[in-house]
Symmetry: C2
Subunit: 150 residues, 2 copies
């Protein structure tokens, strides 16, 4: 790769990352219709798919302090969307799960987000979008490795 080419690629990558993220979050927000904030949706999503989810884990994944997670969780807990259950073996740990109401709201909103993303993805040839996601996963792994070093 020539030097010029790399600089161009880097620049386009940075700009695209920014632009796609902003537009994507804006469209997600529109779908959520102020029933949930974007981060609340992602929190429910993470709890939904994660066995034995804890605050510490959420803090790592969302890259915020644990006290911020407590605030987010408590707000969802106040709305009876999630449950807190103490581990009986290690009584420091609190596991987070969706309540029935939380699951229902999550499923409802998830469907809208899925439809949105599906409407984007299906505009591509299968091969192109699969290749894209494959490279995206490699990037994710590289970033994970970079953070490990930290």
């Amino acid at each position: 790769m020539s030097q010029l080419s790399i600089k161009e690629l880097v620049d386009r990558y940075i700009d695209l990352t920014f632009a796609v993220h902003k537009k994507g979050e804006s469209l997600v927000k529109e779908q959520l219709q102020s029933e949930l904030s974007n981060d609340q949706f992602y929190t429910l999503k993470y709890i939904y798919k994660t066995e034995n989810c804890t605050s510490t884990e959420l803090a790592k994944v969302f890259d915020v302090k644990k006290s911020a997670i407590t605030a987010v969780i408590t707000k969802l807990w106040d709305q009876d969307l999630i449950e807190r259950t103490r581990d009986q073996n290690d009584r420091r740990v609190v596991y987070l799960t969706l309540t029935e109401a939380g699951l229902e709201l999550y499923k409802k909103t998830e469907e809208r987000i899925y439809n949105l993303v599906e409407s984007i993805i299906t505009q591509f040839e299968e091969q192109e979008i699969k290749q894209f996601i494959e490279t995206y996963e490699k990037i994710n792994n590289i970033l994970s490795a970079l953070q490990e070093k930290q």
Copy 2:
């Protein structure tokens, strides 16, 4: 594309978007070393590359209200990093440009971010990353079109 395959792709796309963004922002923040916040960096970057940049334009690109932009801009202006110049033909409009100090700080931080992104991108074959960016640009265009409709 089979139905199952689409749902899988959608799910992986959503999760990757989230994960890559969080890790990316965290690494960018690390490079900025609290000289600038991430959004302050992106603001300087946008002003740097944009002829006749205005608050209204920034509000649209960053997807926040104009009053939020005023706050961001004023904070950078207080640090003498940007200048405000009134349009002589339309005196409502204020153009934003980098001061000498702003340009210097931007260039310094930009280099660190570029090195970070370059270290990621150069782990790929040229063809793979070019294809990735090409698809990324198509996604960006699709999202722009979706927002236009709104």
